[in-house]
Symmetry: C2
């Protein structure tokens, strides 16, 4: 016999409904209700009849379990922390999106923390994520090449690990941990070689804050390649673009003022490359690629729409985030693992043979 009139809407008690209330409504013990709703491993099977009653009661009461209470009882949660510098930066947005996609597939909730490049904040967030009993933390922001900071980071991370947490870092952070390694060095080398093969011999580099390991790696990759190619790179031809479009726009003027003979510029990320292109075109009136070639880094979505379309080094950003999340799911290993994600050169219109 079907139920013509749906069960009384069950005037919900004020405040959150508890398992206990669901159990009462179903006429069973809270233990049974718990088993029916979450069917834990060992003691799972609940009689067909009771199970149905519990499920019905839960639905009628619009019950959702109290996650904090579950966390306390099970001493584990379904949340993972993802720490980035800034979500508004498309580089981090892409990584975060990749991580969140995988997290969703596995029922994990993500707490996203933005440090705005403040090391203190990074430390603070790790502690808070630890307090939240986040199952794992993805350190997606660039590492800082600062001895003292690295030491403190290690302390914080160790404490988190001692509590059973799992940390995965994107790029080197100076700590032993599972790591997703973007091909920063090799990528920069790719950019240099590309320009070299086009005939360029006078290079300039628009860099970012040297304190960031990402910057150091890219810079290092470019330098090594240049050296092995026998091309000189005077210190004056490396300028700091501050990792922002505006600073880079100014920086490129400085670069050209110091070394007007430069015909090729490697910019350490696409955001700065946009500024460099603007500076070259609108401030300096130098044509790209006729007078000067430019190669960026990251291949952010807008790179293809820059003017001219930006030749750049592509990094599988979403895959980096997804890979980090998968390492989390794989559980911690005895030996720190690492996943290398290679960079790839994307040639568009901002690079061409030297005149």
């Amino acid at each position: 016999m079907s139920t013509p009139t749906p069960e009384a809407p069950a005037t919900r008690p004020a405040g959150p409904v508890t398992l206990q209330q669901v159990a009462e409504r179903a006429g069973v013990s809270s233990a049974t209700a718990s088993r029916a709703l979450h069917g834990s491993n060992g003691t799972r099977i609940v009689g067909e009849e009771l199970r149905r009653r519990v499920l019905d009661a839960a639905r009628e009461l619009r019950y959702v379990s109290n996650a904090p209470a579950q966390a306390l009882a099970r001493s584990t949660t379904a949340v993972v922390g993802v720490v980035v510098h800034d979500v508004a930066d498309p580089y981090f947005a892409a990584i975060a999106a990749g991580a969140m996609g995988v997290a969703r597939e596995h029922g994990l909730l993500v707490m996203l923390a933005a440090t705005f490049r403040d090391p203190e904040l990074e430390l603070d967030y790790i502690a808070r994520l630890r307090a939240q009993r986040a199952r794992a933390i993805v350190l997606a922001g660039s590492g800082f090449a600062d001895r003292e900071f690295t030491r403190r980071l290690a302390v914080e991370v160790d404490a988190y690990r001692a509590d059973g947490g799992h940390v995965v870092s994107v790029g080197a952070h100076g700590i032993a941990a599972d790591t997703v390694r973007p091909g920063n060095r090799a990528g920069a080398a790719l950019a240099v070689r590309h320009l070299y093969e086009l005939g360029h011999r006078r290079f300039g580099i628009v860099s970012g804050p040297r304190a960031l390991t990402t910057v150091r790696d890219r810079l290092d990759g470019a330098r090594r390649q240049l050296r092995s190619l026998g091309v000189a790179l005077p210190p004056g031809q490396i300028v700091d673009g501050g990792f922002t479009r505006e600073d880079a726009r100014v920086a490129v003027r400085e670069l050209l003022a110091r070394a007007p003979e430069v015909t090729a510029i490697v910019v350490l990320n696409d955001v700065m490359a946009a500024g460099v292109l603007a500076g070259l075109r609108d401030d300096l009136g130098l044509r790209v690629p006729e007078r000067i070639s430019v190669v960026g880094f990251d291949d952010l979505p807008f790179a293809v729409d820059l003017h001219p379309a930006l030749s750049t080094v592509r990094l599988p950003l979403a895959e980096i985030g997804a890979g980090a999340m998968r390492m989390i799911l794989a559980g911690p290993a005895v030996e720190p693992r690492s996943l290398d994600l290679d960079a790839e050169l994307v040639v568009r219109s901002s690079s061409a043979g030297v005149a």
Copy 2:
């Protein structure tokens, strides 16, 4: 007398340190330890001496409180949920960043959920955030103009509210709630008027999925303005750009095929505008703005770097996110409040007088 040898590193017990262990080490009761560490309102004062001992013990043990346990005891948390369609989309990234900035200032942690435009997922995330006892939820994704969905959303939101949750929506979601209202209608009208004043009379619109309320609002704003200006807009001159660069690129070809006389195109967001510009330039060989003018929407960071620089309608994205978060902090009100954030026209090089 300073302590030459730092206190014994206090071999930490395995697993997370508890308040109890801190208390023992300090030789006090857990109640005192709790008070010393969190100094709750009423019963706050703890003797100077004991307070110091507790703080020291906590530091030595690297204690951090168990947030889930605190949540259970206090029945409140410091986490807020933010639901967006996709973090990788710069529009949402900007809103999320704005919200996160304010959250940080107030010690709130944010759980970010991406629905990838799947209504079911949105419902699901609300339930999970409710289970997490998130203090508030910001519905930042666009609403869906679907009766049945809206009903289910209301049910979910009501349940969350019944549990004491606070929801703030960005744009209309068909539910009564505190709302941050971006000037979508007025913004679209601004774009139209701008083009009209430049002499354009034959308009085309590259729209997005009509199911999204954001799209509907913008479209509606443009249409109304056109009508009040006495300009006709045949249905065929509105094409769906799918909210992506690629789809929009194809869509603009379709538009021009159907209505070659069009001289002005309003694109409902900047991502699509990038595709439109590419399509016009590379596929159709039509010069912008000489042959045809284009105005976008949102003023995403890359708009200025498009070719030509995109005239667009600026929305204070970060402010939208920040505003939503502030409404949360202000606590729930009896009457739903709303915050209007106006759009502003930004004229650059993609729009000009009709030939």
